[in-house]
Subunit: 420 residues, 2 copies
């Protein structure tokens, strides 16, 4: 790799970090924004900038010419990690579903949209941008759905455990299918009520909030948390009120077809309130129509999207910097866990990806792209989910924040090691 190539990469990456550090120091050193004002910027990023950015990228690909082998390798590695973790949680005493979900997020879900596209493009040229966009599509349509399913499954199981422990039948092991179905049905109708109340998550009227304050005091949703702490809501706008009902208990259970279907419907209910999911589905739909019948977006529509999605990249990094500055500590989960997290994110993740790519016969630049993209910093969406379901949020926030700092030298080392 020539110094010229390294310089090109830095030209693409340093501005992203500049934007993040500007936000960080505007809070830490200059106190330019209050917590409420930060949440305004974060909301703008989550509701408009990021969904429009991902729509804008995705709608431009040709779904009939995807690199299916590359996507298969990506899916294989994620599936492999997931099965390994579930196997561990089922068969080993120290295994747990909770940690399986967290480790799955950290090992397999990098920040492909905001960091991945500009970085990989600067490293391997414009023609590799398409590969990254294809990964963005897969991640937001398939893998975030899988992650949501895991979280909802855990919620259902925990509700059940709680119910059973309150009925003091703790000694009895194993959960019957009937019981699980019952809990899932209860969760399901809870979610349905919730949706009827607030048709669309992002529609938060201040008056409404006041009205509902009494009911909600016990169950602060992510909306409330983020307001209090100015937390980065980037990328997803979902909140649930069931969070606090569910308490952590480590139990294995059996699950039947009916309850899986019900959990899936719960997941759907989450998805229809997730703007990024909409953006991806709309983007890929437009891409299909446009490639099939060779239709182009009218320039007026294209420009209207671009004018705000242009803000996406810089604002997303800015929002991340605000989030960073609002945290009491950069390494919220402690040094030991942070170190494990970094090893999983930057070594185990890329290793699994490399393995499955080589297994499927991927070579050359595509292999390099597949490895380097797996070594990107942690994606934001898994953090938002972790916060929402209250499952190791401090671990994910560390992976996001500390990971951003670590990733710059790490991805460049990977880039240098793999050669250009």
């Amino acid at each position: 790799m020539s110094p010229k190539e390294l310089y090109n990469v830095l030209n693409a990456v340093v501005p992203l970090y500049f934007s993040m550090l500007l936000a960080y120091s505007s809070i830490k050193h200059f106190k330019l924004f209050t917590a409420d004002q930060c949440s305004g910027i974060n909301r703008f990023v989550a509701i408009f900038a990021i969904p429009l950015l991902s729509f804008n990228f995705i709608s431009r690909i040709n779904p009939f010419h995807m690199h299916f082998l590359f996507l298969a390798a990506d899916s294989l590695s994620k599936l492999f990690v997931l099965l390994l973790l579930l196997f561990w949680s089922h068969l080993f005493k120290n295994g747990s579903l909770d940690w399986s979900i967290t480790l799955f997020s950290i090992a397999t879900l990098p920040n492909t949209l905001v960091m991945g596209i500009p970085l990989l493009k600067s490293m391997y040229g414009d023609e590799q941008e398409d590969l990254m966009i294809q990964l963005v599509v897969m991640q937001s349509i398939i893998w975030y759905t899988v992650l949501l399913f895991l979280f909802e499954f855990r919620s259902a199981r925990n509700s059940l455990m709680e119910k059973r422990s309150s009925n003091s039948v703790k000694e009895e092991r194993g959960v019957s299918e009937e019981e699980l179905v019952h809990v899932v049905v209860a969760n399901y109708s809870l979610a349905e009520n919730e949706i009827q109340r607030s048709q669309f998550v992002t529609k938060v009227s201040p008056e409404l909030e006041e009205e509902e304050e009494d009911n909600e005091e016990k169950f602060p949703g992510i909306e409330e948390l983020s307001k209090q702490q100015g937390v980065c809501e980037s990328s997803v706008q979902v909140f649930s009120r069931e969070d606090e009902i569910m308490r952590e208990e480590h139990e294995k259970s059996q699950i039947g077809r009916l309850s899986v279907l019900l959990i899936l419907r719960l997941v759907c209910h989450k998805l229809i309130r997730n703007l990024n999911f909409y953006a991806s589905v709309l983007g890929i739909s437009w891409a299909l129509i446009s490639s099939r019948w060779n239709v182009k977006k009218p320039l007026m529509m294209e420009n209207s999207i671009t004018i705000l999605s242009n803000a996406g990249l810089g604002m997303a990094m800015f929002s991340l910097g605000l989030f960073m500055a609002m945290q009491p500590s950069i390494i919220a989960c402690g040094k030991r866990l942070a170190a494990y997290g970094m090893i999983i994110r930057f070594i185990a993740g890329p290793a699994f990806m490399a393995l499955s790519s080589v297994l499927l016969g991927i070579r050359g630049t595509t292999l390099k792209v597949s490895i380097v993209q797996a070594a990107l910093p942690q994606g934001i969406v898994p953090f938002v989910f972790a916060k929402e379901y209250d499952l190791h949020p401090e671990m994910l926030s560390t992976a996001v924040i500390f990971g951003m700092i670590v990733s710059l030298p790490v991805t460049i080392l990977y880039y240098m090691a793999l050669g250009s």
Copy 2:
């Protein structure tokens, strides 16, 4: 003018309006942001997006190849309007300095940066973009300073009038120079104290604000007002605490050399807290260095600025839409005044500009550019000043908001009438 040309113009303008309407309806119909959250977005626009946008534009021009005749025509028309108004305020009974300042803003200070550059570029081609950027430089370095001077002069005179009326010497007409100097000195030291307290306007620490709350209750600065009302602070970050001390009184006065110097120093104190002024001065300095010695910005620096200034255009319009939605009425100053305002903005302004351009021998495309740019909607900065100095803010807010709506058909009519 062909339909194709009109279509090009609409392709450039509609996205700006789209961004504004998205913000408007996200408040009016969906209540997506609270007032505090809006002020966060507006602050981001005022502190980062707009100054970086104007720096980015200005730093790219060649100050050794400015169109000096075009700039002279612009200055001539502004100067002519100003002298006419001052003449009216001095010699006619119904004339007043207050209305002279407001009418000067409305007649001569359009929105050149956000609306002007994209619109004129789409109408008359890329090579005319430079003319608009040169106007942006002149406006933010010279004409906003003149406007500030007028406001500070009025403040000093009004303080004096108030002091005299409280001493119940109302019957005596005419202000002595000595008295005026005294008041200006008082204002000046007030401003100096203020600067010592809050070294940099944008540095608003929440704790500091709480501490100062008691002192400030009587003098809510623009900062506080905008927080309460979620007001658009776009383009300038200045606030003063003298606002409310000054009461409107219509009087004519004489002024000596010393007090002019002192008022100028007060104006300087305002300017050093105005981020747009910095952006323009830095931009033109860079442009001078870069054109003189043929130096280019390092790509890393260029990209770091672009990543946030890219957000500028869309976010500025978004911020305007939020401001629009927060107002109790689009026509805050009443229909009669609004109609006068529109006539001055869209007919008198362009007429003076056309006159002085023709007088200086400007013809062809440059003449068209000079007329159409004068018919752009009201600039935001004069509104922010009007709000700060509490001088007909509802008139300026109407000119900004209602002007935005009216300007689309009006500028297109001008464009069609002038031919391509």
